[in-house]
Structure formats: C-alpha cells, structure tokens
Symmetry: C2
Subunit: 224 residues, 2 copies
DNA sequence: CTTGGCAATAATATCTGATATTTTTATTTT
DNA sequence: AAAATAAAAATATCAGATATTATTGCCAAG
C-alpha cells in the first residue's frame, strides 16, 4: 500500500497491484503481455518480473506455460482471507497494546482523527474518493498494530489487508455509519489498552465487513 | 518445498530457494547476476524473475538499484518467525482436527510412520541425509494441518516453515531423541482429536526448536 | 595517516529483438 | 457433432545493447 523507490519496476508493480485491488483489472482476466506492455508502457522483462512478484503474493496466478491472469475471486477465498486477517491482526493488536509507547499512541490518535474526518465526508456521499478514504482506513489499522514489534507479522498482515480490500472494492456499497462507530470503539479500547475488548471489536469489525461483502456478492452487486 | 512443473523458471526458483534454505547461499551474501547466471545456467531475465519472486517471499532482499542479496539472519527475525509459525500452525491444527476425515487420518499415520523411520536412522548419526529427513518432517507437519480447509493458510504456513527451517539448517546440531518424542506425542494427540493438547505440544515443539537454535547461535555454532 | 573528492570500473535496470515451444483458434474430415 | 489437423497467437527463454547507478581505488588536502 505504501512503498517509495521510484524505479520503473517498482512503479509498474504498484500500478498493476493497485489496478487489481481496485478492480481496473477484473478477477480472472487474462493478462496478455503485449497488451500490458502497451498499457503500462514498459518492457517485457520488467513486466514479467512484476507479474512474478504479484504471483508469489497471490494477486496473480501463473499457470505454467500459459502466462498470467488476475487471481479469480470466490466466496471461499474471501472467507479464508477474512479469517486470517482476524487471526493476524488480533494477534498483532495484542502485542501492540502491550508495547505501544507514547509515540505510538500519538500516531494512532492522529491516524484515527484523519480517518474520522474522511469518513464524515464519505457519509456525505462523495464516493469518488474511495481510494483515498481506504488509504486512511489502512493507516488507521496499521497504526493500531504498528507497535507489535514484528516486521514479519506486519508484512503478512499488509498483504492480507490488500487482499481483503480487493473484495471490499468489488462490491458497490459501503457500510457507512456502522463502520465509523466501530473504528471509534476500537480506537478507544486501544487507547485504554483493553486488549480483550479491542480484539473482540476488531474481530467483529472484520466479520461485519465480511458479511456485508458476502451479502452483496450473493445479490450479485458486483463492480463489473 | 514441493512443486512440479519443470519449466526453466520454476526449476531455477526451486534450486535457488533450496540453496538459500540449506545454506549453500549464505545469509547476507551478494547475489551477483553474472555469477548466478554461470552457476544456474540460465538467462538474465529468468534469473531476475526468480529473484523477484524470492524477494517477495522474503528469502532475498532487493534494495533498489543494487541488485539482490540473500536475506540476512538475526535473532530477532528467528524469534518472529518461530512465533508466527506457532500462531499459524496451531490455528491450522485446530481447524484440521475439527475437519479431518478418514483419509486425512490415514495420510497422517503414514506420514508419521515415515518420519519416525527416518528419525531412527538419523539418531544413528547419519547426518548426510539432513535434507531428506527434513522433507519427512515437513510432510508430517503438513499432514497434521492439511485438513484445515484453507489454502491461504497453508500457503502462508509453508513459507514460514521454510524460513524457520533455514535457521535450523544453519546450526550444526540436531535435537535428537527429544524431538522424536515430541513428534510422537503430537501425533497421538492429533489422532485422539485433542486439540488443546495437540496445540500445546506443537507450541512446545516449536519453542524447543527455537531455544535450541538460539543457544547454538549464541555459542556461534553456525554453518559457515 | 586519515578524510574528502574524483576518476575508473563494475554492476544493475531496462529495453529491443529473436527463436523454439506450447496454446489457442480455425478449418477440414469423418 | 466429434476428431484430427493446420494456421495463428502467445509464452518462455535467451542474447545483446545502453544508460544509470554503485563501488573501488587513487590522490590531494588537512
């Protein structure tokens, strides 16, 4: 979701990943190399490097000898991802609440505040900024667990967050006021260092999102 | 650890990954492209694709503009990995014990039997077969959790197992009889579907391995 | 001697273009 | 309509070229 280093490779990587997450590249779509070369204006070699990376992260599939395709979606997959996110994020949250110092807390307050501001705007119906809004959501969730003291854990979580996000972006509707309140509750439990409560709220938060997405998928409300 | 598809790319991938895990490529070592090209007899493009994949899995680092190097080791990193393995493998184990059917059980019995046979040989001092032995260890641990019903979870676990394994291969000594007994206990708890006991044994098993490796690292007993 | 700066060298990132092999698609035959 | 086959498209892999960036070694200044 973040990453700097403006080399051609890393830029292409970010762009394609973003296009997969936000649905510009549809689940299951064939990723024809020549076509991508034209779209992303980059060479075959760079493209293949990028796609290999995305394949190993699970955003792309690479069946041998037949190129690449956007990882398909499925209800099963979504459920797995949601449950793993609960597992990892709760664990990280617990560690983070134990270790978080003043800086951590300050950063969290800031992240929550920014998210909240954005959420108010979103409630006003301005859906054009979905992407920015989700960046604040990410930054809030990251801020919560940032003091967990495990780079490996944060890395795994980051990928899971993105996979979960893709499913959220696939459905048209958002959860509105409910999610806003959940963020606020989690935030307060975190500041109070109430790990059990925070974890339970987080679990609920993710599972509510899951249900919402599943329901929308059932009704076929997908972004085509 | 497994994988078929004998394309040049996937073969090189497996070989380099294996060389990192088993220490032929030392932690922190610079991966010069020309040198690798000669060793693995493959083209630059294929090599870079491979290294990109390994980088995204965390076996290789790729600082921008300066090529690739084998992921360095550290005590911190080892601890993180061990703890994550406990978290994920215990979770998977619990699910697996709930869902495992007769086929799962049969496969587990077989995997444990094979591991046990190999372990008896190893106790006899034949360290030359470390790699084969570890494959049986892997197959046993995988058999335990295979019925967890989550491809995503199994994929994450597989990578963690390999990372943990690398640290184990770095120290010279093995844990011998103790680990054999632990495997047996875990196996029996699993067959009895005693999830709590199985999880606690597994946790202990991994943490014992961690302590053993940490102690050896402290004493500097590293494979150079 | 050590440190800072600069030239020479090595290595990387990226691109273009070529070829063998494999898939996919279209066409023909039974 | 199914099977067999030919034609077209796409992929995997390789080789080689270039601009850019890192590294190394050398020399002067303190």
């Amino acid at each position: 979701m973040s990453e700097t280093a403006s080399t051609v490779g890393s830029t292409t990587y970010q762009r394609i990943k973003r296009d997969i997450i936000f649905g510009a590249l549809k689940p299951g779509a064939k990723l024809k190399l020549d076509a991508l070369k034209a779209v992303y204006k980059t060479s075959l070699s760079t493209l293949r490097e990028t796609l290999n990376r995305l394949a190993s992260e699970g955003f792309v599939e690479a069946p041998p000898q037949r190129g690449f395709l956007v990882k398909p979606i499925s209800v099963i997959d979504l459920k797995e991802i949601a449950h793993l996110r609960v597992l990892l994020e709760c664990h990280a949250l617990e560690l983070s609440l134990e270790n978080g110092d003043t800086d951590w807390e300050g950063n969290l307050v800031s992240a929550h505040h920014k998210l909240n501001l954005m959420e108010q705007k979103m409630l006003g119906g301005d859906a054009s900024k979905k992407e920015i809004w989700k960046r604040y959501d990410w930054e809030f969730h990251l801020a919560m667990i940032q003091a967990c003291n495990s780079k490996n854990l944060l890395a795994l979580h980051s990928t899971l967050y993105d996979k979960y996000l893709r499913y959220q972006m696939i459905v048209l509707t958002n959860r509105g006021e409910a999610a806003v309140q959940e963020h606020r509750d989690m935030f307060e439990a975190a500041i109070a260092r109430d790990a059990e409560k925070a974890k339970s709220l987080l679990t609920q938060h993710i599972e509510n999102g899951l249900e919402h997405t599943l329901a929308a998928m059932d009704r076929g409300e997908l972004v085509v």
